[in-house]
């Protein structure tokens, strides 16, 4: 890759850190993201009300430790859909000054962000930590379907079956990177498919 290469639409993820002046804290995590939550509690047990929604994943389950560490408001959920439904109901009761923390895969982070957007929480108001995997959600610019958990440079669209080149250009509204048909000008001619987002 060329030196200096940087696509500015690519989200910047950081380590989760408490906002000390928040009025309440809402932490949403998946799989390996549980470690990010534990790290938060290593730093501090905030004075304000805390809600933690955690969904274990096949590769990582920190439920047992979280139950011991999180003093209140921990809810363990089994599927992403359960997390999002729960999140929706929790956000309905939240007040100004609440801070949102998200940790998990990019698919997970942006699914959570989409629910939060509905409540007027803007992108800059959410703290996000990418954990466990670099796998990407890919939006097919041709058929508009999103293919989840893509780990390769090229992927077959689950909507239209086209072979898509996985770009670095990212849309926060869609919560996905752009996928563009790779062999439109020379049908069938594909570069090697390689895992580059393990």
């Amino acid at each position: 890759m060329e030196r200096g290469y940087w696509i500015r639409s690519k989200p910047v993820y950081t380590s989760l850190l408490w906002h000390e002046k928040a009025t309440s804290h809402l932490v949403v995590a998946q799989g390996q993201g549980g470690m990010a939550v534990l790290k938060l509690f290593q730093l501090m047990h905030p004075k304000q009300a805390i809600t933690v929604l955690y969904m274990p994943h096949a590769e990582a389950d920190y439920s047992k430790t979280l139950v011991k560490v999180v003093p209140e408001g921990l809810q363990l959920l089994e599927t992403e859909q359960e997390v999002l439904t729960k999140l929706d109901s929790v956000l309905q009761g939240m007040c100004m000054g609440m801070r949102l923390y998200i940790a998990g895969s990019e698919d997970f982070i942006w699914s959570v962000a989409k629910v939060a957007n509905k409540f007027g929480i803007e992108d800059v108001g959410m703290m996000k930590e990418l954990t466990g995997t670099l796998a990407r959600p890919i939006y097919c610019v041709h058929c508009k379907a999103t293919t989840h958990a893509v780990t390769t440079n090229i992927v077959k669209c689950r909507g239209c079956g086209r072979m898509l080149f996985v770009r670095d250009h990212f849309s926060r509204q869609l919560g996905a990177y752009m996928g563009l048909m790779i062999d439109a000008e020379s049908p069938g001619e594909l570069p090697d498919i390689e895992e580059i987002y393990p």
Binding site: G4, I7, V141, H169, M178
Partner: protein, 346 residues
């Protein structure tokens, strides 16, 4: 002067051409022998009679055909129109701006009658007559922004200003040079310019943003942008790249002058009064190399510009496949003698 609107197509059989007067007024963008991005923004002031900048929104011989092409593209993909809910004031600002400009500048084709908030708009070339209450979207057959975007040549993006940047929070985009509204809607200035090579390093985007954040009501600005397109196709969207990408393979040394078109965007930006948003108008002009070469000065200039083009830009603008053929064809117009600065055809 009444315009004679031509019957044309921008897809399939590509029945499109420029009359001699349309060629002469074409907004040729190259004043010098070399091209690199710059913040080439200037006030969008009234230009000389007959030029594309005579009025805020230029209506030309392709008007009816282009509006029809917009409708075809939108019917095939509703995602070409998108607007976020908080942009309603900006929608009405756009209606006011475009209706007033067109009715004022082209009274033989468009009229606007106001009785307080009760407005009647008439568009004769497209045979549209609509009475409505200004500010009341329920009196319009569709979103106000969509209604007028369908009736003005070019693409339109509504930019909301907050957090010291501009967000693309609405758009009607059917003639774009390979960018997706559905993907970009809601993006900040930095995000949507992210893929443009070299521009970030040059600081061009940051400087342009700074300028636009201070754009004043009543003082619109403009700039020209350009690319080369195979066939006179308005809808060169990423959505339909599988359709038009293959057309790049059809260029050969015999047809290069007919197939390859200079595509110039007259981009203009207007501050809007109620919303404090900005409307970004992107008007596309297409001219084949053959048409362009009716003014040898332009062909000579384009030869030099293309011959010295940065490889990143050749790639970014999608010219890789036909670039050598184009340069070869244009070379016969270049005797190597020095040229004065300027975009004039003769």
């Amino acid at each position: 002067m009444a315009l004679a609107f031509k019957q044309e197509t921008f897809r399939n059989d590509y029945k499109y051409s420029n009359s001699p007067s349309a060629i002469k007024r074409f907004p040729f963008p190259f004043a010098e022998d070399q091209y690199m991005y710059s913040v080439n923004i200037e006030p969008h002031v009234k230009g000389k009679q007959g030029t594309v900048c005579e009025f805020p929104f230029d209506v030309d011989e392709h008007y009816v055909a282009e509006c029809l092409d917009k409708q075809i593209t939108l019917d095939l993909d509703r995602g070409r129109y998108a607007v976020l809910p908080h942009m309603m004031d900006a929608q009405w600002d756009f209606v006011e701006l475009t209706m007033e400009a067109l009715s004022n500048d082209y009274p033989e084709h468009f009229s606007l009658k106001k009785d307080g908030l009760n407005w009647t708009w008439e568009n004769k070339p497209l045979n549209i007559k609509q009475s409505f209450v200004f500010g009341d979207a329920s009196t319009m057959p569709m979103d106000p922004f969509e209604f007028m975007s369908r009736q003005v040549q070019g693409d339109f993006v509504l930019l909301d200003q907050r957090d010291e940047t501009l967000y693309a929070d609405g758009g009607f985009v059917t003639s774009q040079a390979d960018w997706s509204l559905a993907f970009n809607v809601g993006m900040s200035w930095r995000e949507w310019h992210a893929p443009v090579p070299r521009a970030t390093e040059l600081g061009v985007m940051d400087r342009a943003l700074k300028y636009l954040l201070n754009l004043q009501l009543g003082s619109p600005v403009r700039r020209l942008n350009w690319t080369m397109t195979v066939n006179p196709r308005l809808d060169t969207s990423p959505e339909n790249y599988p359709l038009w990408g293959t057309e790049r393979n059809t260029v050969n040394p015999e047809n290069v002058a007919d197939k390859v078109h200079l595509r110039v965007e007259l981009q203009s930006l207007f501050r809007l009064p109620r919303s404090n948003a900005i409307v970004f108008s992107i008007r596309c002009y297409l001219m084949s190399l053959k048409e362009l070469s009716s003014y040898p000065r332009w062909a000579k200039r384009l030869h030099r510009v293309q011959k010295t083009m940065h490889p990143d830009l050749i790639e970014y603008k999608g010219m890789t496949k036909f670039h050598p053929m184009m340069v070869e064809w244009l070379s016969k117009f270049d005797d190597g003698s020095a040229m004065d600065v300027g975009t004039q055809p003769e």
